[in-house]
């Protein structure tokens, strides 16, 4: 009878002293998952707009069908971020446009030939496919019926119709390669030119308020609204030929696979895929359309929603879990030091508080320029780790400080060593406060981890981001609702953990 009581008791104190190990092991799980999932995969990046997403999906599927494992990090940001990620090796390939490469990446002031561009890129260890077959440049568009009625096929044809009303975006009115030089080159006579928002311009075009507007040549709206792009017969607009950039040290198989896409996608085809993507809100399905019509490999209907949800959620938990583990590993010792007060204690609490005041977006942006971080999961985890630190440090410190002096002195007077006092007396007595700090961190991390998608780290932020991009509320909710549920679940899980980890004597 006594023996069993004793057994129970020592297992209790054993359990309590294993709290930190338990949390460590618990949060180590995601590390293995991260490592295993990204092993030896080709990582495709894409910019934050529909066409880039679709091309990224096409590249991914092309590689996958060539039995090369590939991952697509959607919507990582703009040109410079993608370029740096490519050079830094965080991604292996991404879709780009020749005009952008010349002007924004190589910063050359004259139009370069493909060979010149390829030569310049090679210096950075980057290769370029031949054009995929479409040119996504500025175009002037008209209603198809109107163009046919007036016999307008090229921009030069506009000279014969000075009465046409024109509505351009404000950007196009001002650009170096915009309206003014265009009018000069073609000697266009139209006087009735207004500035109008891009999206509103399509409505204005449809109801006849304007007859001509500017557009991207592969814009899905062209097909959707039954418009026609006028041929740039004097070659005024620079070429924005779609290509794929890739790291030259990528395997020969992978390069060969990507090069099979060269010349296979014309403007009409690209426009159709963009339209499909915007209509269905599903980039994978749009990409599949390419394979069905082109190379003719029919199967795979893309990831189903449950599969996607599982992938997002798993990655989300990895991000939040791994960063939480780091916060616990560093937060508790820092909290112990901080609990002793003094200048060092003040400094620790001060640092943790300041980190907390930096907006999360700004913190991500601040970390990206560092070589170790860049555009990667590491950056997201580092930012989440820093956010998770304060609640744990503060609660550990205050939990320890709240232990009555008489009990501290009793522990000393008994003759327990400092380590034993900390491990068996002080930390278990502060366990409630420490656990509630960890809980706060976990909930914050699950919420903040949605921002990780901004730097291509995935998670439930991915649908939120593409939803924002497509202005599609359903897609946004596909990420937002699971993220909120996850936060509730985490809260509930920790409430349960309290019952196991907080010593019974403190719960009575």
């Amino acid at each position: 009878m006594n023996r069993t009581r004793k057994g129970k008791q020592s297992s209790r104190s054993l359990l309590v002293s294993w709290v930190p190990y338990f949390l460590l092991i618990l949060s180590c799980i995601p590390v293995f998952l991260i490592n295993s999932s990204s092993a030896a995969e080709i990582v495709i990046g894409s910019k934050k707009f529909t066409e880039s997403y679709v091309l990224g999906e096409i590249a991914k599927r092309t590689l996958t069908e060539a039995a090369i494992p590939a991952e697509h990090r959607q919507g990582m940001g703009g040109t410079i971020i993608l370029w740096q990620a490519l050079r830094g090796g965080q991604i292996d390939a991404y879709p780009e446009y020749t005009g952008t490469i010349g002007q924004e990446i190589l910063k050359s002031d004259h139009a370069s030939s493909l060979d010149e561009i390829r030569e310049s890129l090679a210096k950075f260890g980057v290769g370029m496919t031949n054009p995929l077959g479409f040119n996504n440049t500025y175009a002037l568009v008209m209603r198809r019926s109107e163009a046919q009625r007036l016999g307008v096929r090229t921009i030069s044809d506009l000279r014969k119709h000075p009465e046409l009303k024109i509505g351009f975006t404000h950007e196009f009115l001002d650009r170096r390669d915009g309206w003014r030089p265009l009018r000069e080159r073609y000697a266009l006579p139209q006087q009735n030119v207004i500035g109008i928002d891009h999206a509103l311009g399509y409505s204005a075009l449809a109801n006849g308020s304007i007859d001509v507007k500017d557009a991207y040549s592969t814009d899905a709206k062209i097909e959707e609204n039954d418009l026609v792009a006028l041929e740039d017969d004097l070659h005024f607009f620079p070429n924005y030929e779609g290509v794929l950039l890739f790291r030259l040290n990528m395997s020969a198989d992978a390069i060969a696979a990507l090069r099979r896409l060269e010349g296979t996608l014309d403007e009409k085809g690209m426009t159709r895929l963009n339209a499909e993507a915007e209509r269905t809100k599903n980039y994978t399905r749009a990409a599949n359309l390419y394979f069905e019509s082109g190379a003719g490999s029919p199967n795979t209907a893309g990831e189903s929603f449950p599969q996607k949800l599982a992938r997002w959620t798993l990655r989300h938990l990895q991000l939040a879990g791994f960063s939480l583990m780091l916060s616990v590993i560093f937060g508790i010792p820092l909290g112990i030091v901080a609990s002793r007060g003094g200048a060092i204690g003040q400094a620790i609490l001060g640092f943790a508080s300041i980190v907390q005041t930096i907006p999360s977006l700004a913190l991500l942006a601040l970390l990206v320029p560092f070589p170790f971080f860049g555009i990667s999961v590491r950056t997201a985890i580092a930012a989440l780790f820093l956010y998770g630190l304060l609640p744990i440090v503060r609660n550990t410190a205050s939990g320890l400080q709240d232990i009555p002096r008489s009990l501290r002195e009793s522990a000393i007077a008994l003759g327990l060593s400092p380590i034993t006092r900390l491990w068996e007396i002080y930390l278990p007595m502060a366990s409630r406060s420490i656990l509630s700090g960890i809980k706060t961190s976990a909930v914050i991390n699950v919420g903040t981890a949605t921002l990780a998608a901004l730097i291509g780290a995935g998670g439930l932020g991915e649908p939120i981001l593409s939803g924002l991009n497509l202005n599609d509320h359903v897609t946004i909710l596909q990420g937002a609702i699971p993220a909120a549920l996850l936060a509730l679940l985490v809260q509930w899980f920790f409430d349960l953990l309290d019952r196991v980890l907080i010593p019974k004597g403190l719960r009575l």
């Binding site: 006594n2 009581r5 004793k6 129970k8 008791q9 104190s13 309590v16 008489s406 009990l407 002195e409 009793s410 522990a411 000393i412 007077a413 008994l414 003759g415 327990l416 060593s417 034993t420 068996e424 007396i425 278990p428 007595m429 366990s431 010593p503 019974k504 004597g505 403190l506 009575l508």
Partner: protein, 254 residues
């Protein structure tokens, strides 16, 4: 010759020990010898320095000057941890750790010095019997015990390693009168049975007279008089001695 005899029987010896805090002197230069096998009661009004004296002996604070000897050896930073295991310490609220059961509180230190389960178990039952604490209550947590029960557990914890010295800092101060009377009686029996050297701090004269082989009366950070209760009554060293005795008597006669 008599001087050496005295030094033989003193377990604790304070020589010119003083302690001050930023705002006040807690203990003026003090000499004191605690005799083996006797109960020495330190008494005096709040702030007289009696708790400081106790905290100096257990090494919770260090003296500004002077030296403290324990069993013939000078107390230093190096040996204070080892010496604490030879001293049992009971404070007013018991000082039990709330996250540990009564049993775990009592065996905590024994476990750390590597006592076997059998040894701890037999000592535990011995102490339960000694302190009149039912062993059925051992699996309970401190919050599940009454104030008197908690003080019995605290006493068991202090006695677990058979200390040479037992320090009690107002151990009965927070108990109601009935529980207090029962515990007083039990404590006195325990001290006698163990022939325990005890240093007992209280502010209650009746309690001091009940327990004290020797009474140390303190005031304003110094020892006013040391002796038996008869000495204090009949040969007061200072007008304060009479004043203190009369004040407490006055209350008692009400």
């Amino acid at each position: 010759m008599p001087a050496s005899l005295v030094s033989m029987s003193a377990l604790i010896r304070l020589v010119h020990v003083s302690k001050g805090y930023a705002d006040a002197t807690a203990l003026r230069s003090t000499n004191l010898a605690i005799e083996r096998g006797k109960t020495t009661v330190v008494i005096g009004p709040s702030g007289c320095g009696k708790s400081t004296l106790l905290r100096l002996i257990i090494g919770l604070i260090e003296p500004d000057s002077g030296s403290i000897e324990f069993d013939g050896a000078s107390v230093t930073a190096d040996n204070v941890a080892a010496l604490r295991r030879r001293i049992g310490y009971v404070i007013q609220e018991g000082g039990l750790f709330p996250h540990l059961t009564a049993r775990a509180n009592v065996v905590l230190m024994a476990r750390h010095v590597g006592k076997s389960q059998e040894e701890m178990q037999s000592r535990l039952l011995e102490l339960c019997e000694l302190t009149r604490f039912s062993d059925n209550l051992l699996p309970r947590y401190p919050v599940e015990l009454s104030g008197g029960q908690r003080q019995r557990v605290s006493l068991m914890r202090a006695l677990m390693l058979s200390p040479q010295l037992l320090l009690l800092d107002e151990p009965l101060g927070a108990l109601d009168p009935l529980v207090r009377a029962a515990l007083q009686k039990d404590l006195k029996e325990i001290f006698a049975r163990l022939r325990q050297t005890v240093l007992f701090v209280t502010h209650d004269l009746a309690e001091a007279i009940y327990f004290g082989d020797e009474i140390v009366l303190m005031n304003g950070g110094r020892i006013v008089q040391k002796g038996s209760v008869t000495d204090l009554r009949e040969k007061p060293a200072d007008p304060f001695v009479l004043e203190f005795i009369n004040a407490q008597r006055g209350l008692a006669s009400l």
